[in-house]
């Protein structure tokens, strides 16, 4: 159906399937298909109309300000926080900035070793404390050290957690509070795995109830998943996607581009 200006009922069904496959969810898809089925007097190919209307819908809502000095990475287990922390550190270092990584995951097996390995590869300072199981204490030490040393960027990694665990969400709330006592230049980024289905909205929504989420890093976009779940997240929570993860190496972080993302949704 590529390039078609008028979409038949069959075409609309094909389009609906493609959009569902992208994890946009049936409600968003219904709205899109509904608006595209209405005749259009601009005589444009449906792709153009899709991009235009999505652009208006999304760009109108999202303000992407530059990232603040201290970044807190949060999200569900295994979504790519630690790797993204390393990628961000690499990005900032390349720009000539001094970066401090903080090993805020005091829980998971070998979590500190993992981020330590990254800090060594990147030649970036790391604050860690393997003697404590209190992540707020490490976050405090890390941010404190970073502020007093006047580093340009402080990146705090946290343990993976499910939004359904009250204790872990309270713990995250405390980490955020402790960090904000020291500085209000903080951005909280949630990592969302591009493979995630409709639960992704619930994740962002729930995390946002415990601490203000400032943006999204959409990871694992180098797979076949299209990451459509970011659309309802952007719409409902007014959250910008700052970066896209496209691999496991430190350079595999790309600034989010709305146009190429939208084009990717319709494959």
């Amino acid at each position: 159906i590529s390039g078609k200006k008028h979409l038949s009922a069959d075409d609309l069904e094909k389009l609906e399937e493609a959009l569902l496959q992208a994890d946009l969810g049936w409600e968003v898809v219904d709205n899109i298909v509904d608006s595209l089925s209405k005749s259009d007097d601009k005589n444009l190919a449906w792709e153009e109309r899709f991009l235009n209307s999505m652009d208006l819908l999304l760009n109108g809502k999202i303000q992407t300000k530059p990232l603040r000095k201290t970044i807190l990475l949060v999200g569900i287990n295994g979504t790519g926080k630690t790797t993204s922390a390393a990628k961000l550190a690499g990005e900032f270092s390349k720009d000539g900035e001094s970066v401090l990584l903080v090993a805020g995951d005091t829980y998971r097996a070998a979590a500190v070793e993992q981020i330590r390995e990254w800090s060594k590869r990147l030649k970036v300072q790391l604050v860690a404390n393997e003697g404590t199981s209190d992540p707020a204490a490490v976050a405090f030490d890390g941010v404190n050290s970073g502020l007093s040393k006047n580093v340009d960027r402080i990146i705090v990694d946290t343990a993976g957690r499910l939004h359904t665990s009250l204790n872990l969400m309270k713990e995250l709330e405390k980490i955020n509070r402790v960090v904000r006592k020291m500085t209000d230049e903080v951005d909280v980024l949630i990592t969302i795995d591009a493979n995630t289905g409709q639960n992704g909205i619930q994740q962002a929504r729930e995390f946002n109830k415990y601490l203000p989420i400032d943006g999204v890093i959409l990871t694992k976009m180098d797979g076949t998943a299209r990451g459509g779940i970011a659309v309802p997240i952007m719409l409902e929570l007014n959250l910008p996607v700052y970066y896209i993860g496209v691999g496991e190496q430190v350079d595999d972080l790309v600034p989010f581009d709305m146009d190429s993302y939208l084009k990717g949704l319709i494959g």
Binding site: N77, A110, N199, K220, G223
Partner: protein
């Protein structure tokens, strides 16, 4: 809830006796939407809905006092049967030495599942398990498995090399020399579209000749579950599925998709980060959860 939607639909249908395609289409649209919301792949959802429409047509279910509930029972039963009637555990080797390979996408829970499964088989099946740390790619992956191995008192083989096949080969010899009767091989997370790494997985499988190849899938996976699971099961002979992070509130519809495209049994689910967060799969529980 599906239940409430159904009761209002069925209020209008009641008294018509037989179920026909038209009076069922509203109910089926709601089932399809519930399945989509639960992350069942849209093609799989459509096939499932077609199947139950066929089963329901001509049925006398609507003579029930609560047809909505009755209908849900039919759907639940159908979904449960589809998810795999009997809870099938690990198929042990008749030779007395069982090999299991853990595979899947990045971050799905393989390393954690290796340790959980070892602990489960040690405590519940009286096995003497041995873990092999064949992920040489992710920073500190070997450390992670070693730490978990210590927690559950199961030996872990690792080696300072860049070649996972060496680790597997030497790990197997070490396991046998220590009288282990079961080995679980942890592998690096990989994309099904990464030809090099999929070849590596094939090589690990050829070398270790496993009795079970478990595809570990994140319980919150969306529509793409069909693609990754299909590719993995076409590249190597996947024998079972593990669904992780089911302690979250994801509906878990990916399980239906994965089961449909691979035809393989879901064997276990992960229910917490801890080593005891691991249970044999119960299809009836998951079908209730999927239908919400």
């Amino acid at each position: 809830q599906l239940q409430d939607r159904f009761s209002s639909i069925f209020k209008t249908i009641r008294g018509h006796g037989k179920i026909t395609e038209s009076n069922i289409s509203d109910a089926m649209r709601d089932v399809r939407r519930a399945l989509l919301e639960a992350d069942v792949n849209f093609k799989v959802a459509r096939r499932f809905v077609d199947r139950i429409t066929d089963k329901a047509k001509g049925g006398e279910v609507l003579t029930s006092i609560t047809p909505g509930q009755q209908f849900i029972k039919i759907i639940q039963k159908e979904l449960t049967e589809f998810l795999g009637g009997n809870t099938e555990g690990i198929q042990f080797s008749s030779s007395g030495f069982t090999t299991i390979v853990m595979a899947g996408l990045q971050g799905s829970g393989k390393t954690t599942t290796c340790a959980k499964l070892a602990r489960f088989l040690k405590n519940k099946r009286q096995k003497n398990p041995f873990l092999i740390a064949a992920d040489l790619q992710r920073p500190a992956a070997v450390d992670q498995l070693k730490v978990l191995g210590k927690q559950i008192d199961v030996p872990v083989y690792s080696e300072d090399t860049k070649d996972p096949l060496k680790v597997v080969k030497n790990g197997i010899s070490q396991a046998k020399s220590q009288d282990a009767d079961l080995i679980i091989i942890d592998t690096a997370g990989r994309l099904h579209v990464d030809e090099t790494l999929m070849n590596q997985l094939k090589n690990i499988v050829s070398l270790s000749n496993p009795n079970e190849i478990l595809f570990v899938a994140d319980g919150m996976t969306g529509q793409d579950a069909v693609n990754s699971s299909k590719a993995f099961s076409e590249t190597v002979d996947v024998t079972g599925i593990v669904l992780t992070k089911m302690d979250g509130d994801s509906r878990g519809g990916a399980a239906v998709s994965i089961r449909e495209v691979t035809g393989k049994p879901i064997k276990f689910i992960g229910t917490s980060e801890n080593m005891d967060g691991f249970e044999p799969f119960h299809p009836d529980r998951l079908s209730q959860r999927i239908l919400g």
